[in-house]
Every structure is written in structure tokens, then in C-alpha cells.
Amino acid sequence: MLESVLFWSIAVLAVASGVAVFRVDSMARATYALAVSFVAVGLALLLVGLDYIGLIVVLMMVMEMAVMAVYMIMFMGMNPALMPMSMVHGHRAAVITAVGAFVLLAAGALLVPWPQRRGTPSADPTVALGEALMGSKMLVMMTVSPVMVATIVAGIVLASHRTRYDRLGDDLRRRPADDPQPGGVGR
């Protein structure tokens, strides 16, 4: 009973804050409404017994929303005052598509004859996950790692305004580097 109440309040919170992302009057509120939605989904994951993954979702998403807020403000230049903002294109088509998608997916969820549960969860899903990642699913770990490194490198290459030739001179010999904000290590 308690679990049911908890689940429904989390579910309503997740969807309501998801809708609020596109309805509120300030960019910071939109970003943190999305953060609340993610925290709600993380709590729902905790309810189904996925402790580690639920907490990881909460952790990563709050961190991401904090950084995303910085980007929002940077691009849109809005101040904390609340002003009505709605920048949409093709609003009606989007609403129709979204409602249609929801009807389709919900109908599928309710009408498909789902199979029986196979197996039982282990006593500690986190340990099972760790052993799977380091054992039978090591390939996943090996693939995700260089993808992450590639993402870091690609992100910096795309976003960085000054190349190493700007920093280190044409012959790459200038030390320390010519930065507008010198770092603390003196490189």
C-alpha cells in the first residue's frame, strides 16, 4: 500500500515536472524541473531494486543539470526574473505527434501479452552487475571506455576556441602557455 502510494507520487512528479520543463517562465526553472524529473525516475529505479543504477542516475543527472543551467544562461542570456517565454515552431504538429506516440506506446504496453518473469533477482544486484561487467560483459566496459575518452576529446576539440598554436606559439615552444586565465600549476 505504502509502496503503491510512493510509486504513484513519484510517477506523477516525474511526468508533471517533465511537462513543466516546457511550460515554466525561466531557463533555470526549466533546467531544474528536468532535474526533478530525473530524480523522480532515479527514485523509481530505487523502488524496483536497482540501487546502484538509481543513485547513479540521480548523481549524474543532477550534475548534468547544474552544468546545463550554465549553458542555458550562456546562450539565452536571461536573468533570474520570470518572463513568459515560448519559442516553438510547428507546435500543433508536435503536440499531435506526441499524443499519437503516447497512445501507441500505452496501447502497446497494455495490450501486449508480456511473458512470465524468468529467474529471480540476486540478493545484491550491485554485486551481480559488477561481476557481469568485469566478467561476461567485459566487452561493454572495454567499448564504453574509449567512447568516453573520444567524447571528451571531441567535445573539447569542438568547443575550444583557441588551438594549441594559439597557446604555445607557431613553433609550439612557448612555455608557459599564453592563456587568458593562467592555471594554478603554471603550465
Partner: protein, 313 residues
């Protein structure tokens, strides 16, 4: 090795946890007041009374609001600090008892200290004021620097104990405390606690050069909440270091819970004492230190710990 002796108590005891956390925060504030009084040449008693005097003053002070402030976000950011500190201590075992015996207690602490990112930025964004916003941004820049080293510093005891449960980490320290053979992780953890409480050397978010930063526009009971939250985060960080690095309730003569409180207060005193001893680290310089120095060093530490664990069999 699951530790069967950690008992999870009912949520009613959260009141006691809140009281203990509040007591530790008051202790930290009093100690800071004593140190200030000493340097100013006043009686030490005025320093000890400082938390009470400040509380009374701020409770009476008028709440200020700025033009077109985002009140919802502002007050959430300010009040959330205390709530997050309380959530952090929920996984700290007081001797044998804990409020929440999560199987992933270490990750819970990590998640809570990331929520502090959001809260401090919101506290800076809310008042629609320049200096406040600059303080919030400084906090984010500095948090990006210490967060990854903190995550690896939290991983080291978990690797050594073979579990993410705080009770198991305590049980694995029965031979030798982790602070002895993972000092780098302990040092990085302490730096991160000072960082997420924007305290002492890592307080440019509340810096004097930006009129107090995130503290510039709050007044009255809101300011009391933010200041209490700062001290509470410091206390919660010190409290979590005890099961993670300092052996939990281990120690001669006194019972476990007494040792936990004693060790927490000792570490908290160390944190308060360095406030005015170290110069303020600017966020943009600290970023390079965090990524080029702290991260490789703490990764090497985790490597050493992993090799020891594998060698131990």
C-alpha cells in the same frame, strides 16, 4: 564480508541524528568564533557565544528580497543545504546503529554531495544579483575540479573493503585503519569536504572580493539556514570520514558511538582550524590543480589499493 552487526533503526531516530548534526554544527561555529576572538584579542567567551548570538540576531533580522528574484529557487537552494547534510549523515553508523543501511551507502554520499552543486548555484542565481551569480558560478567551477578526485577517493575504501556498504567498509578496517595506507585518498576527501562546504581556502564562492558571493543577498532566517547548512555540510563530511577512513567506532575504553562522535569532532575541529590559515584558492587556478595534480595522484592511489587487495587474495 557482510557485517551483521550494523543495525538499522526506525526513521524516528532521525530526530536524534538531526540533533547530533546540529550540535556538531554549533560546535564548529563556536570553535570558529573562539579562533576569531583569539585573533581579535577579545574574551574567548564571546567566541563560544557566537553561534547563539548570531542565531538570535539573524532570527530577528528582516528578511530581504531583491527585485525580480526567483524566490522558489533561491529559498530552495538556501534551505536545501541543511537537508542534504542530514541526508548525508543518514548513512553514517553511530557505533552499531544507522538510519539507513543502504547496500550502496558510499554512492549515496557521493550523490548527496553532487546535489550541493545544484543547491549552491541556485542560491547564487535566485536573488537576481551580480555578485551572487558570480559566487554560484565560482562554486560550479571549483566543484568540477574536486568532484572527480572525490569520486575516486571514495572508491578507494570501497575497493579495499570489497563492498559499497558503509558497514562493510567499517568492518574491513578492523586490522588497520584506511587512513594509514590510503593517505592520499583521505587528503583528497578532506579537500573535497572543505570544497563542497565552500569553506576556508575553497570559499571564493562566498568570497570577500564579491561582497560575500552567494551570501551577499541573503539575510535574516534565510541567511541562518545557509550558514547552518555550511557548518552542517562540514560536520556531515567529517562524520562520513569516520567510517570510511578512521575505523568507525573502533577504539579502546569508550563505546563505539562515543568514538564516532569524538573522531567526528576532532576532524571537524581540524577543518575549522584551517579556515584562516590557508589562502583562498581561486577557482580558475584550482581547476588546473584538480585535473592535473589531484586526479592522477588519486588514480595512482586507487591502483595501489587495488594491487594490495589482489595481492592479499
Amino acid at each position: 564480508m557482510p557485517d551483521a552487526s550494523i543495525v538499522q533503526v526506525s526513521p524516528v531516530w532521525a530526530l536524534l541524528a538531526a540533533l547530533l548534526l546540529g550540535g556538531a554544527a554549533v560546535f564548529a561555529a563556536g570553535l570558529d568564533g573562539v579562533l576569531v576572538s583569539r585573533t581579535q584579542g577579545r574574551l574567548l567567551l564571546t567566541g563560544v557565544r557566537m553561534p547563539l548570538v548570531e542565531t538570535a540576531r539573524l532570527l530577528r533580522q528582516r528578511r530581504r528580497s531583491t527585485l525580480a528574484a526567483d524566490s522558489l529557487l533561491w529559498r530552495t537552494g538556501g534551505a536545501g543545504l541543511v537537508v542534504v547534510a542530514l541526508l548525508m549523515v543518514a548513512v553514517v553508523p553511530l557505533g552499531r546503529w544507522t538510519l539507513a543501511d543502504l547496500p550502496v551507502g558510499v554512492v549515496w554520499f557521493n550523490a548527496m554531495d553532487v546535489v550541493v552543486w545544484a543547491l549552491v548555484w541556485l542560491a547564487g542565481w535566485g536573488p537576481n544579483a551580480t555578485h551572487s551569480l558570480i559566487g554560484g558560478y565560482r562554486f560550479l567551477a571549483q566543484a568540477l575540479a574536486y568532484e572527480l578526485p572525490l569520486m575516486f577517493a571514495l572508491t578507494a575504501p570501497a575497493v579495499a573493503a570489497g563492498s559499497l556498504r558503509v558497514g562493510d567498509v567499517v568492518a574491513a578496517q578492523q586490522g588497520l585503519w584506511f587512513v594509514v595506507w590510503m593517505p592520499v585518498a583521505f587528503a583528497v576527501y578532506c579537500l573535497a569536504v572543505v570544497g563542497f562546504s565552500f569553506w576556508g581556502p575553497l570559499a571564493p564562492a562566498a568570497g570577500v572580493d564579491i561582497a560575500g558571493g552567494v551570501l551577499s543577498e541573503v539575510s535574516g532566517p534565510d541567511r541562518l539556514l545557509v550558514q547552518t547548512g555550511r557548518y552542517a555540510l562540514l560536520a556531515a563530511g567529517a562524520a562520513f570520514a569516520v567510517p570510511l577512513f578512521l575505523g568507525g567506532g573502533a577504539g579502546p575504553l569508550l563505546p563505539g558511538w562515543c568514538w564516532v562522535l569524538l573522531k567526528t569532532l576532532l576532524l571537524l575541529s581540524a577543518f575549522v582550524a584551517i579556515r584562516r590559515r590557508l589562502p583562498s584558492l581561486r577557482a580558475d587556478r584550482f581547476v588546473e590543480v584538480g585535473w592535473m595534480v589531484l586526479l592522477p595522484v588519486v588514480l595512482l592511489q586507487v591502483l595501489v589499493v587495488a594491487l594490495v587487495v589482489v595481492g592479499r587474495g
